[in-house]
């Protein structure tokens, strides 16, 4: 069993209240951080090697150091929009230990010299929003938030902002537009949010899990934290395992743990008699991996080397009873629905992909259509303001290339069922 930082006794009754959180040493890291010079706190974050837990995996300390110096209003925004399919780690963290996030935000704001902060929580998380609302009020009453926190020079306000159901608002610039009261359309980058973010001011945006890790880094020391995990993927990570496994749920692991141990050891693997067909290592936006990839260590670089990504740390396991086209169509429909419509390749590309996959199901496709699907994905990637289109294109392209035989067999089967073309024998083992 690897070390627990975020999930240490997470089910302790009353942990969501300030009293219990303080009784187990909560807010001690904040007191320690406020007694340190700002630069030293930032240095601890840099030393920790903590990489963003939301999906992109950018070094958190580095991102915080990008904020310009000066006396202008600076903002810290916590991205609690968690809408990547398969991801549910932040939900459990906010519901059970909201003060850990609040403490992390105060320390991160101190390190980045931000004086206003926001939590953008997805609208569907009503219960979690209520819990956070109470926790923020408690922290305010205890003097952890507000003017001159605990007698220091640092002041911080914290506002909880509820979204209203849009996947795109998990994208940092879409989130900022939504937080400004607009439609959640992404912005052109650069300028990056660190220079021009919320209300055109310098803004640091981090995921819930990233910020909740900050108190632990201050407590342990950045260099000590960096000893956990691998050299380039330090620390522990919450992994959401779901799909065809026997024990779906959130697990805290040390980065670098073999993927097989997570999927089989912790989550119990697929039901008896079934095999892993493919798996998403980092949410539905990550290219799929095959059973032979199960022995890879689960960390940022190993996943990238295998042609996929760690993303938000959401493993979705698909077993051998599921036709790959069902997953592909589900995925494409989701991204079509969630595309904000600002950039043409994404808006049209997602729509065309759905249409072409439906054409396969209607028996009107030919194997040539697979090449067209692949070329549409190719034309989406890298051609939009944000990566929503890529988030469909990458897994879809990987499914078409890795399961081409199954797609072709499916096309022939549907064609013959529709009475089009000559019936062709279905490849052995393919979905009927």
């Amino acid at each position: 069993v690897s070390q627990k930082l975020l999930f240490d006794r997470i089910d302790e009754p009353g942990l969501a209240t300030l009293a219990v959180y303080e009784a187990r040493g909560g807010y001690a890291s904040l007191k320690r951080a406020l007694a340190m010079p700002r630069e030293a706190v930032l240095q601890e974050l840099l030393d920790s090697g903590l990489r963003g837990r939301g999906g992109a995996g950018f070094a958190m300390g580095k991102k915080a150091s990008f904020l310009p110096k000066g006396t202008m209003d600076k903002y810290l925004v916590c991205n609690a929009d968690e809408s990547e399919p398969g991801t549910f780690k932040d939900r459990e963290l906010m519901q059970k230990s909201p003060h850990m996030l609040v403490e992390g935000m105060i320390i991160a704001a101190f390190a980045a010299d931000a004086n206003r902060s926001f939590i953008y929580i997805r609208g569907e998380y009503e219960q979690q929003a209520e819990i956070l609302e109470v926790a923020i009020a408690e922290a305010e009453a205890a003097g952890y938030l507000g003017e001159r926190i605990l007698g220091s020079e640092h002041s911080l306000s914290l506002v909880l902002h509820r979204g209203a159901g849009a996947y795109i608002c998990g994208e940092e610039t879409g989130l900022l537009d939504s937080l400004e009261g607009k439609r959640g359309n992404p912005r052109l980058k650069p300028p990056f949010p660190a220079n021009q973010g919320l209300y055109q001011g310098p803004t640091l945006i981090n995921n819930v899990e990233t910020l909740a890790t900050v108190p632990h880094i201050i407590q342990m020391g950045g260099q000590e934290y960096a000893k956990l995990g691998t050299e380039t993927s330090t620390g522990t990570k919450l992994v959401s395992v779901s799909g065809n496994v026997q024990r779906p749920g959130n697990y805290e692991i040390e980065l670098g743990m073999p993927s097989r141990e997570i999927i089989f050891g912790l989550a119990g693997g697929p039901d008896p008699g079934r095999e892993v067909k493919f798996w998403f290592p980092g949410g539905s936006s990550s290219p799929v991996l095959l059973p032979q990839d199960l022995d890879l260590p689960y960390d940022f670089d190993s996943m990238a080397k295998a042609g996929s990504m760690l993303g938000s740390g959401a493993i979705i396991v698909v077993d051998d009873t599921i036709p790959v086209i069902d997953v592909a169509l589900k995925l494409a429909k989701f991204y079509r629905h969630e595309s904000c419509g600002k950039c043409t390749p994404c808006r049209e590309g997602t729509n065309w992909t759905v249409k072409m996959l439906e054409r396969i199901e209607d028996g009107e496709a030919t194997p040539m259509d697979l090449d067209i699907i692949a070329s549409v994905q190719d034309q989406i990637m890298g051609n939009c303001l944000c990566v929503l289109g890529d988030a469909m294109a990458m897994p879809l392209a990987s499914m078409v290339s890795k399961f081409r035989d199954e797609f072709e067999a499916h096309i022939e089967l549907r064609r013959s069922q529709a009475g089009l073309g000559l019936p062709v024998a279905v490849a052995a083992g393919a979905h009927a």
Binding site: S2, E124, I316, K330, C340
Partner: protein
């Protein structure tokens, strides 16, 4: 009049409808002849006060209006526009973007059934059909197939008036609807809020 290009029908409701060119665009509603309920006004004003830019309160304000009116009706939007000093068009643009803001009248019981990948691998599509059937044509119900709700550990699941329940069997659909009709807590033993962490090391 139908726009010829979209003669086959568009996915976007109202797109094909002709605009009345004799009408002026709606401006910011006049407070003198816009009746805003006091409770809504104070909620919207409180939300506006929380942000450096009052426009940030658009979503919370529309949420509040939806709670009062049941949906973001033209009347609800006009009231919010009046308090926020924005045009109804601005707020309509916001309301139509977000899935949880309803731009058509809906039932007061909201049931979102997650039908995204992880849930559908465990039978969410069948569950959605079962819930739809159990609710029938009861106008009090707003049953929707929803995108990933972030609770794949209890797949297949549903969000019932904001409370997550799961994992749901097909037979739970009837109970879910009956609990809602009777005003009881829905499927208490399946509420996410009572679920322990799956990680065996977390309990130690």
């Amino acid at each position: 009049m139908t726009v010829a290009r979209f003669g086959h029908g568009s996915r976007i409701p109202g797109w094909d409808d002709a605009v009345d060119l004799t009408k002026d665009p709606a401006g910011i509603p006049d407070p003198a002849n816009t009746d805003v309920p006091e409770a809504l006004r104070s909620q919207v004003e409180a939300a506006m006060a929380k942000y450096p830019d009052f426009r940030s309160a658009a979503i919370p304000a529309l949420h509040a209006a939806q709670e009062l009116h049941g949906w973001c009706s033209p009347e609800a939007i006009e009231q919010v526009a009046c308090v926020m000093r924005l045009t109804p068009a601005y707020l309509t643009a916001v309301a139509t973007f977000y899935d949880m803001l309803e731009t058509k009248p809906v039932g007061r019981h909201t049931v979102y059934v997650c039908t995204n990948i992880s849930c559908s691998l465990r039978g969410a599509d069948e569950l959605y059909a079962a819930v739809q059937e159990a609710a029938g044509d009861d106008p009090d119900f707003n049953v929707r197939a929803f995108e990933c709700l972030g609770a794949c550990d209890i797949a297949p699941m549903a969000s019932v008036n904001g409370a997550y329940v799961g994992p749901l069997a097909l037979t739970d659909a009837q109970q879910l609807v009956e609990d809602l009709r009777a005003g009881r807590e829905v499927l208490p033993e399946k509420q996410l809020s009572r679920r322990a962490c799956a990680d065996p090391g977390a309990a130690a």
